[in-house]
């Protein structure tokens, strides 16, 4: 008799979602988390100075997956994860050219903002929303919650929801092609280009799907009412424990125990063996198969597939505490991201282990989040927290992240000063960063890849690691590296798929 019906490796939002659904179905479930803090990338840490910083994720774009989860648990999402809307969605700022505009939640209001500098593109934006908003909703409502274990699943999905056929071209065309079809003004193109950032690919190499994902943000984006992003995994964990589930913190799993190609439990770092009827690996799929299961249990063709998976681009995080209210207008502020620069960055810098340079200066592309705008309790009185999420290579040519860390923070502050907040350096009272290597060490994400596996067509749907292992019985996967992908809504949706598979397979 195994110790548990289900043991989940990893207390991120994907693992906790799966665990809660299994527990709800009456399966005795245990979550083992290596850290002393839940949530993985969707979490918040506190400094001795009293600043609360979100580790990685900084907003929830689509709340439908959280609503679905709590509905299936028979609980109220609002009771466990209170969220507040964030408006405007983004502020775009380039002080070097005197350009600044913010996109509100309303599509019509956004068109009015664009009309101030490009009436032609404002009309195109309304057409863009009309053409693609229904398609992207169709995708999120169906594809996100359906398993993608094989071609038959894809076929079933299309038969059940024929509207999905209209979505398929978005997977094979590029972000750049879709956006260029509608928009002409350089600043509008730039304001759209950053969505490819979430896929970790430049606009001309990123699936067209990401060009239209931004439209979902016009349905509303949300942030936890109090406590930062950790409120989301904390709420799911609370629901899981209220249903009778058990969580062990500081319990690092080092091996999935496999007998005759069947997962039978996990071994922890201290040698403790926990037996279970089912094992859910809610960690990076590549790490799960290669480090925790091993070649001896995996057929050669599957191993070859695992080896071939390309990790997503690392997103180094900078955490800044400031002693004033920063002159920002939105939760998220972006430096205008010229699509040509992003395309150039990929081939001439990122793949060569270099940081982007413009006019002979290193520039740190990224997104500034101002979480204490929504929740002032995240910083001591009179102070605020800012985080900067950037894109950078894991291996720096001729340098090492541990040595380069302080210099990178300086470069990021200089870039933010140049484009967004002119006097930032004078107000920074706390600074720290999570380099790609730190993210790898802290969160066990190989290569610091917070989005798991690269999101191009060759790593999507049936070509992404499946939610139910195809080579080890009773082994399941959750998290950013499995279907449907990375980001809070997708990871929760993936956790729902996995939870339902475990429950269904166990009668």
């Amino acid at each position: 008799m195994p110790d548990y019906d289900v043991v989940v490796i990893g207390g991120g939002i994907g693992g906790l979602t799966t665990a809660a659904l299994c527990q709800k179905a009456g399966m005795k479930t245990l979550v083992v988390e290596q850290a002393d803090r839940i949530g993985g990338c969707c979490s918040t840490f506190v400094t001795p100075e009293g600043f609360h910083f979100d580790v990685g994720a900084s907003v929830v774009e689509v709340t439908r997956s959280l609503e679905e989860l709590f509905k299936r648990l028979g609980l109220s999402r609002e009771d466990y994860v209170p969220l507040v809307p964030v408006d405007p969605i983004y502020d775009y700022c380039d002080n070097t050219r005197g350009v600044r505009f913010a996109y509100p939640t309303s599509v019509e209001e956004t068109a009015k903002v664009i009309a101030e500098f490009s009436p032609e593109d404002a009309r195109a934006f309304l057409k863009f929303a009309e053409d693609y908003a229904p398609k992207i909703r169709e995708l999120v409502d169906n594809f996100f919650y359906a398993p993608s274990l094989g071609f038959l699943d894809t076929l079933r999905l299309i038969v059940k929801y024929p509207g999905m056929l209209t979505v398929l071209p978005m997977f094979v065309t590029t972000h750049q092609k879709i956006v260029a079809r509608y928009f002409k003004h350089q600043d509008v193109l730039a304001s759209m280009a950053f969505q490819s950032f979430y896929a970790g690919l430049p606009p001309d190499m990123c699936a067209g799907l990401y060009a239209v994902v931004g439209l979902l943000e016009h349905d509303g984006i949300y942030y936890p009412k109090k406590g930062g992003m950790i409120t989301i995994p904390a709420g799911i964990k609370q629901a899981f424990e209220d249903l009778g589930g058990e969580t062990r913190m500081g319990a690092r799993a080092v091996r999935v125990m496999v007998e005759n190609r069947r997962a039978v439990g996990v071994e922890l770092w201290d040698g403790t063996e926990i037996t279970a009827g089912n094992v859910v690996g809610a960690i990076n799929a590549k790490k799960l198969y290669m480090d925790m299961i091993g070649r001896e249990h995996i057929p050669w063709h599957v191993w070859r597939g695992v080896e071939s998976l390309v990790l997503s681009m690392p997103c180094p995080m900078i955490y800044l505490g400031v002693d004033y209210e920063p002159p920002l207008r939105a939760h998220h502020t972006l430096t205008l991201t010229d699509p040509r620069a992003m395309n150039d960055y990929w081939s001439n810098y990122y793949l060569k282990g270099k940081l982007y340079e413009k006019d002979g200066r290193i520039e740190v592309m990224g997104l500034v989040s101002w979480a204490s705008r929504v929740d002032p309790t995240l910083a001591p009185p009179g102070k605020h927290v800012l985080t900067h999420m950037g894109l950078a290579p894991y291996n720096l040519a001729g340098n090492d992240w541990d040595r380069f860390k302080e210099r990178y923070i300086d470069l990021a502050i200089e870039t933010i000063e140049r484009y967004i907040i002119p006097d930032l350096a004078d107000h920074v009272v706390y600074r720290d960063m999570a380099t790609p290597k730190d993210l790898e060490r802290m969160l066990l994400h190989p290569g610091g890849a917070v989005y798991g596996i690269q999101t191009d067509l060759s790593h999507m749907a049936v070509f992404r690691p499946a939610n139910r292992s195809k080579c080890i019985r009773n082994l399941y996967l959750a998290g950013a590296s499995t279907h449907p992908g990375g980001g809070v809504p997708a990871v929760v949706a993936g956790g729902i798929i996995t939870g339902e598979l475990v429950v269904k397979d166990n009668g």
Binding site: V172, G305, S308, S458
Partner: protein
């Protein structure tokens, strides 16, 4: 439930991958070749990824 042999599945995966490549080739402007190139380099790996 339809049960297929591994070889049949590999052939089906390869067929889909080749189909996608043909679609891309037919619909892509020469100036936008980086994405198809990325996918073409991944093409031989996709049948194996199907089993992960």
């Amino acid at each position: 439930m339809i049960r297929l042999k591994a070889r049949t599945k590999i052939m089906a995966a390869l067929g889909v991958a080749v189909g996608i490549a043909a679609w891309l080739a037919a619909t892509t402007e020469p100036s936008d070749w980086r994405y198809p190139k990325l996918l073409l380099t991944q093409l031989p790996k996709m049948p194996f990824r199907y089993f992960v």
